[in-house]
Symmetry: C2
Subunit: 459 residues, 2 copies
């Protein structure tokens, strides 16, 4: 830790995840003389949480590979990274943070404070899931390197694994455990998988593919755990429609039913939270408290389309907020767009999915089931695109499953950001060459379908 | 050929390439009762000219595979396709086309005429290249199936092949002949390859890669041919800088130095041509003559950025013009955008390239050399993006070499179409997941560089 002259700006960041780490970098870039301190309760510097399933599967060899910026990196950047250090309290009147490291309690003054405390897994009400305050042996969540290490060391070839929740993380993990040669069952309370990301007709394509490798039970709720000698043996599940109850033999169970924000410190510091407990921030990542910023999974911000509050659950957004908060906390000026498009992607069992913007059921949709290459060129892969537009033809959302789903969704994300309508976008010259893409891409042809629907309405 | 009542609209299309064939389809869709006739001098129905190099290489098994719509298809669609039929003259006062098939001359009346006569290879002034009006044996162009068949049957393993012109087609063919195990040399008059598509710094990356497989001589002009028993044996080339002349032993030579438009019929029909001989059309593909439309490689239209006239040299544009002309010729109304972005792509020796919009040297550029995946995820591939913006930060062009160059350029094409500026576009949430893309894609980071340059200018 350096010694700083009192006139130097003091920036304190709580949390060294994707958001906090990025904020520190951009604060440093913006004010080369500022004191920048990151306080992180965990023992690891900034690492990729999104990469955890791929270390469990073995695609990424070591957990240490996930570390994006090492302690040395922060040292070189003159950013004080305090690991295994907790913040006890934020005192916004004195502008200090009370920090505890080992037995010591220290006060850290700040001019700008960035709260990047993230979120923790939310545990659904399943009977006997805990003993005291701990999960029963064999039951896990997946949020930190330590969680992933625990899952990894418990995942034994041939054993039965059950995952509660068929969202992005649940399914990524399903593939990881399948690759570890476990027998995997995914239990989902909703009628379809990936319900936060894809419409049912789109997720059905993924479902059918995944079902070749793992068992999936949609419309089922986990009700209770049975254990033996303190270790899980069965999970009981109930069919939402019939009420029928059955059990799944389970050696390893992972809860992947979503997150809840870590906002105790922020609340205590009088930062305004929304009704779901997320810190409310503006397009500069400012909270309701002067000189206190917040970013990442502990915050909410507007949806770009609806302008309604949405929780930030994506690393890509946390990074963008980190850029903004880091610059602003250091005296710069970086405003975010007027809401987030929530562009997201993932891949399961070789199947790429992606989505952006709104999929409101009142929108007009066009779905095209095409190939990535002209029909005469060998090796074309399926690509299904669904586009959403309002009655004026303005593009408001898109979903994709298949070849280069993410890149195609990026193009639609740019279209949404540019306010393009269907008639303009379907005239866009997409890049064409036989080994690369057809003359009219699936993104164009999906829009053609909406165009036809809109013309029919006008008649 | 059907019998039509006189009140039915008569649509005649000259040429069954990508443009003409598409126009016929959309004319048919727009007016189910119209008579639609396509007159094609060649013996093949609509096929992919862009696919020809991949039949030569063997990636696509047969030339017939390139046929996109068969004679039967046209019959089913009630489109009269007259193959091996030439148009002798267009009489715009009588609104007839005088057609010759075999020995017969027939008059075809039209209400709407679409000229889609395309272009033919332009032959540079190389001494002794022709005997009479024919190219010397062993010298070819690549435009039609017949050209490709001739090249294919002459391409012998171990023989020397020389290609004049290092544009898209020249390099695609270089790879094809390399795959046929020929020893390939590409001769280019300009100082860099792909000069119409990429800046020199971008094409250099491709050049270095291609050079591992084939010989490339930039800044060299082919001056004369030497032949033996009427067959080419050598091509003499001159170094533009030193004037030094040398020869390349050549068994097979392909001219790939560009095209010139086939506009004799249009000119004769008083359609206005521009100074380079291309038919001038508007955003409805109308020519200067009433009820006469023109599309594809025989036409010019505005560049989207500069609004200056540019020749149409891309299949993707011909198809879009075909949609417009087909609909408009059949009484519908389909306007194109106010100019073409000229989005294009290709792939050589596994290296994908793409470009869109302007690369004017007065623009501000940002170039980023990145990876397709986060650094911690195995298998990330290089991607180099160069973005062009004006001094107000408006994005006007982009070039890419590497992983998913085409899809990334599509996203930038949408940004240009949407009038996005650097500050907005670099805030776009691109899709992120470790196996798919990094949190900040190369398309974002290239824009960050322009942003920094613009901020520096403002200071």
């Amino acid at each position: 830790m350096g010694v700083y002259l009192s006139q130097e700006r003091k920036i304190v960041i709580i949390g060294c995840g994707a958001g906090g780490g990025t904020a520190a970098q951009f604060a440093r870039k913006t004010d080369r003389k500022a004191s920048v301190i990151i306080i992180e309760k965990d023992r690891y510097p900034q690492y990729s949480k999104c990469g955890l399933p791929y270390v469990i599967s073995g695609i990424i060899p070591n957990f240490n590979d996930l570390i994006e910026f090492s302690e040395d990196w922060f040292k070189t950047a003159k950013i004080d990274l305090l690991l295994e250090t907790t913040v006890e309290k934020i005192d916004t009147s004195k502008k200090i943070v009370i920090v505890k490291k080992g037995g010591n309690v220290i006060e850290k003054p700040y001019d700008s404070l960035i709260i990047a405390t993230g979120a923790k897994p939310s545990i659904p009400p399943i009977n006997n899931i805990k003993k005291g305050s701990n999960l029963i042996k064999g039951i896990f969540v997946l949020r930190t390197i330590n969680d992933a290490k625990d899952i990894s060391s418990s995942a034994k070839k041939g054993d039965n694994a059950t995952i509660i929740g068929a969202g992005l993380i649940g399914l990524e993990l399903a593939e990881s455990l399948y690759k570890k040669k476990m027998k995997v069952t995914v239990v989902e309370a909703l009628p379809s998988i990936l319900a936060n990301t894809l419409d049912k007709d789109m997720s059905k394509i993924v479902y059918d593919e995944i079902l070749k490798q793992v068992n999936i039970l949609t419309d089922h709720i986990a009700t209770r755990i049975e254990s033996n000698s303190g270790k899980i043996t069965k999970v009981f599940i109930k069919d939402n429609k019939t009420g029928e109850e059955k059990y799944i033999l389970t050696d390893l169970l992972v809860i992947a039913t979503g997150l809840k924000p870590e906002t105790a410190l922020a609340k205590d510091a009088d930062c305004k939270l929304n009704e779901n407990g997320y810190i409310i921030v503006n397009n500069k990542c400012e909270t309701s408290v002067k000189d206190v910023f917040a970013i990442g999974d502990c915050t909410e911000f507007k949806d770009f389309i609806t302008k309604k509050s949405v929780p930030i659950g994506l690393g890509s957004i946390a990074v963008r907020q980190g850029i903004s908060a880091g610059i602003n906390a250091a005296g710069g000026n970086y405003t975010l767009l007027d809401g987030f498009l929530q562009t997201c992607t993932s891949e399961f069992f070789g199947m790429e999915i992606a989505a952006v913007g709104s999929s409101d059921e009142n929108l007009i949709t066009g779905k095209f089931n095409g190939l990535s290459l002209p029909h005469y060129f060998p090796g074309g892969k399926p690509i299904i695109i669904k586009v959403f537009a309002n009655k004026d033809g303005k593009i408001l959302g898109a979903q994709a499953v298949g070849d280069n789903a993410a890149q195609r969704i990026n193009t639609l994300a740019a279209a949404i950001l540019g306010g393009l309508d269907i008639e303009t976008f379907r005239r866009l010259e997409t890049a064409y060459a036989p080994p690369i893409a057809p003359t009219l891409d699936a993104i164009t042809l999906a829009c053609d379908i909406i165009s036809a629907k809109l013309r029919k309405r006008q008649k």
